[in-house]
């Protein structure tokens, strides 16, 4: 529904404007590094690169190979915390 879409766009805008999106991004990155997610994914990258050959690797290759795995590898605790924070932000600023 376009209303949803509009709402989504509005919320996104608010997130960015208030700087909350940056904060969330940094928080997520820190947590992922801490949990070892980044190293895991890097190892996977190595495999992909070895497979494809060092010279011919492109960004798209990496992205298509790595992103789904990355999404799956995020630890549950990190996911829960981030969802919680987003919900809190929405509750606070989405004018209930």
């Amino acid at each position: 529904m376009s209303k949803d879409y509009q709402m989504k766009a509005a919320i996104n805008q608010k997130l960015i404007e208030m700087g909350e999106r940056e904060r969330l991004k940094e928080l997520l990155r820190a947590k992922l590094v801490e949990s070892g997610w980044k190293d895991q994914l890097k190892a996977h990258c190595k495999d992909v690169i070895r497979e494809k050959g060092l010279e011919h690797v492109t960004v798209e290759d990496l992205v298509t190979e790595v992103t789904p795995k990355g999404r799956a590898l995020v630890p549950d605790s990190v996911k829960k915390e981030l969802l919680q924070r987003i919900r809190a932000f929405l509750a606070q600023h989405a004018a209930l």
């Binding site: 989504k8 997130l15 992922l32 980044k38 060092l54 990496l62 992103t67 996911k79 969802l83």
Partner: protein, 361 residues
């Protein structure tokens, strides 16, 4: 585009949740993308595989995860049991004890000079006391073997104080040792204090004339401060002198106010004073005169008690009484003067004083 139109309840909750999830996945994708860019750049710049050189060196520096060994594979206290030869004394010392041993062996370092000084001080005390104890049998006969106990205890505490391991023993004893070590910087001076058992009677007396000398309850040592040290009262000082030198033989060189006679522990001290004073007046008038019969009677009655003429003692006693009365205050200064001019001295009717001078002579 009014968000207020969207009530967040019931069926819209799922929409909200969907929204939240969307935002979340966007964030995760951003993170993945960031990683991909990073890796891709590393690959193209050529530094991606830098940490993987070859299989052999990788095996060599692999992380070790065994018990008893750190992650490099090294044992923790491998060098503890090794022994090194000291260049000074040529002894084999354990590696962990090597540095403190060197410090003491070479005589450099903060602690070593302090310990050496303390040892010298205690040695001097010991040798001094041993030579003097033969002089006086009384001290040797002292049944109260406190001195021997004290000396043994002191040696033990000396040993335990200089070793850096002493903190281990402290864990069991909360009492004295703990307080002793905490007061260690002060105790260093305290250890140089005097134990009355170690001094001969002459030394005790000379010591007591210049210093406070009150025996501390904790360490049983005599206070080395001056006669006016604020930690101890005059009563304590008198008690110590009575204890050490026999009763009624205090040699307090202070000429104080009249309040001091009260602090004398001699039971008959004041009685003595009064007796002397009382005796003076009849004696100033010539004893031949028949006018004071009662006094002569009195003096006659007292004379037979003391038959031995002691001319040499006269001066001593005069001096002694002088010092006594000097401590006694100005009131008895008259007796002092009158006594010193007297020629007949064996008027010392108080038998206790004669006994003092026996001892002193």
């Amino acid at each position: 585009m009014k968000m207020e139109d969207m009530p967040l309840s019931g069926p819209d909750n799922t929409k909200l949740e969907a929204l939240v999830n969307d935002i979340y996945s966007e964030l995760v994708e951003d993170a993945c993308l960031g990683l991909c860019f990073e890796v891709h750049r590393a690959v193209k710049q050529g530094y991606f595989f830098l940490d993987e050189t070859d299989q052999e060196s990788m095996k060599e520096f692999e992380i070790v995860d065994q018990p008893g060994v750190d992650i490099f594979g090294q044992v923790y206290n491998q060098w503890k049991n090794k022994e090194c030869e000291c260049p000074n004394c040529k002894r084999l010392i354990a590696a962990s004890r090597f540095a403190p041993h060197l410090e003491k062996c070479l005589g450099m370092g903060r602690n070593s000079s302090r310990i050496a000084n303390r040892r010298l001080a205690s040695n001097n005390n010991m040798s001094k006391s041993e030579s003097d104890q033969e002089d006086n049998d009384d001290l040797n006969d002292n049944d109260w073997s406190y001195g021997a106990e004290k000396r043994a205890k002191k040696r033990k505490s000396d040993k335990s104080q200089t070793s850096p391991r002493r903190s281990k023993t402290l864990k069991h004893k909360n009492g004295e040792l703990g307080s002793g070590i905490s007061a260690d910087p002060y105790k260093y001076n305290y250890n140089a204090g005097i134990n009355y058992e170690m001094l001969g009677p002459d030394e005790v007396q000379s010591f007591l004339t210049t210093q406070c000398g009150v025996i501390s309850e904790h360490t049983k040592k005599m206070c080395t401060r001056s006669q006016r040290c604020p930690q101890h009262t005059d009563e304590q000082r008198m008690a110590v002198r009575v204890f050490l030198l026999g009763p009624s033989a205090p040699v307090l060189p202070e000429a104080d106010s009249v309040a001091v006679p009260e602090s004398f522990d001699i039971p008959d001290g004041q009685a003595l004073m009064s007796r002397l004073q009382w005796e003076d007046s009849p004696e100033i008038s010539p004893s031949d005169s028949a006018s004071s019969k009662a006094s002569t009677n009195h003096s006659d009655s007292r004379r037979p008690k003391k038959k031995k003429p002691r001319p040499s003692l006269g001066l001593n006693s005069g001096g002694g009484i002088g010092s006594l009365s000097g401590g006694g205050g100005g009131g008895s200064s008259q007796s002092n003067i009158s006594l010193s001019t007297k020629k007949k001295k064996p008027k010392l009717t108080a038998p206790s004083i004669s006994s003092i001078y026996d001892d002193l002579n």
